[in-house]
Symmetry: C2
Subunit: 328 residues, 2 copies
Amino acid sequence: MTKNLVIGIDLGGTKIYTALANLKGEIIAEVKVPTQSALGVTGVRQNIVRTVEHLTAQAGLKGQVRAVGIGVPGPLDVKEGVVYQAPNLGWRKVPLKQLLEESLKLPVYLENDANLAAIGEHLKGAGVGVKNLIYVAVGTGIGGGLILNGQIYHGAGFGAGELGHMTIEPEGRTCNCGNKGCLETLASGSAMVQKALDLVKNGQGQNLLAATKGEPQKISPYLIAQLAAARDKEALSILKAAGTALGIGLANVINLLNPSLVILGGGALKVGLPYWEAMEKEVSRRTMQAAWQQVRLVPAGLGDRSGLYGAIALACQYETSDVCRQTF
Amino acid sequence: MTKNLVIGIDLGGTKIYTALANLKGEIIAEVKVPTQSALGVTGVRQNIVRTVEHLTAQAGLKGQVRAVGIGVPGPLDVKEGVVYQAPNLGWRKVPLKQLLEESLKLPVYLENDANLAAIGEHLKGAGVGVKNLIYVAVGTGIGGGLILNGQIYHGAGFGAGELGHMTIEPEGRTCNCGNKGCLETLASGSAMVQKALDLVKNGQGQNLLAATKGEPQKISPYLIAQLAAARDKEALSILKAAGTALGIGLANVINLLNPSLVILGGGALKVGLPYWEAMEKEVSRRTMQAAWQQVRLVPAGLGDRSGLYGAIALACQYETSDVCRQTF
């Protein structure tokens, strides 16, 4: 029987997003379930396996699947298929490729989730035909994937793209990574929330506090965005400061890599225009003239499916069939 | 007649360094002359042509030269051979390839000087066999060249590698490029001198002033280094602060690109150990653990000939002969 389907999985800290696709990279069916990372590796593995079984439950479909591509939130060994560390999942040294291949009886390929999002955008999204592009995911943290000379760039140990840990304020707040003043501590969703909490702690941010009915732990980037849209000055200044910090980080990357495209994705971008405008203004101020003229800054073309399409492509590209590799 | 020689030229703001080499990249003869940039494009062109004539003056040698590779200090269009801007030469939009080809009657290839130094180190120096490396030149300014996936990385408009204009202090000193707090304003040779001048202006730095016999305009990185070696605290703290700033910039690049090697070259490195040690300490503090474990920081293996060897390789590599391309 011809095997003409693949599975792509975007494994996140809160949800597992899985798709069944054909060899052109077209999604035939998809499903999104909670990750339930509290259940540990065994539980998450079971949830992944179940979504694959669910998508291939129709008669004969499973036999048509060639391979599975999966994106993981954290550094990993692409060749061995081992996840070194995934803080959002609470994982350390998990041989995910082996575990899933045992359960699924299919070849499984792993890649960093931001890299897959970069690949997805490059093949099907805002970056089609672009040789040098940077994909930046701004969510709870900040990650990135680099397409250089038309290919994903891994670096010496599959660790490239960590622009969230670029120092922006040498003596700034301590980051989870141990460094001080990382971009992530200034421009991410959690940085915005932290700034709002700091305000509340100092007796400011009364509108923010009121909007959570006095429960500051309920402050989210979306709440800050809502207040900013209603012209709350403090909320607005939080968004602008975060956008400005992101702009500094992106300017540094643009000066170093001279890309023709920067694609921004991730949940925190949904905070709206003030964040984007502050970012863009800062990038224009801090980039070399030629580099600024040669680059465009755009939102992800595939919405929250950038990583999913990348995972589908991964399942395809590692296979030896020319048809599969050439069509997607 | 078999053409089995090439010319490599490293064109700098103060000197023109030219070599005649065989197809294995071995230097047969070399010459260094003042650039005399005050003479303008015509004068510098004449100086370049004269060094080439001088090196090939022996009977029959000129007929054996295949091509000329030349490194230029500034952004340029590699394909068209046009130098966009070379501040140290006072050049803007100079069609150097065309000008030199007319005079020399030989094919001439241009490349950014830091890129050529990266190529030189990759082929003959500290980076032989290394797939992903960053070459950083610390002199009056700070420039860089990136070897990624085994090849020089140019970016969208041949502008990649500008790590001197990475923002390190968002509200710091204004750089020549217009941005504030660039790495170059904190870690370069001229940054060290500026810091010493600031001290003198504030009535401090008395040893520095004394060493110049009261002429602060004579302060140089080497003078600062001499005083630091004699344990002058202010001179030492200038070197350490500059090294620390360089470390922040390199940590950012290492986190982003996960290289296995960073090669440091350029005159300002001659200031000695305190600068290097401060740099290395800061890199170790600010890099992700895995990236730090995977990278080495080393001085250039070819001394001040990194760019010269790169220029020789350039002359070779653009030629179609397999012999030339394969041997070097």
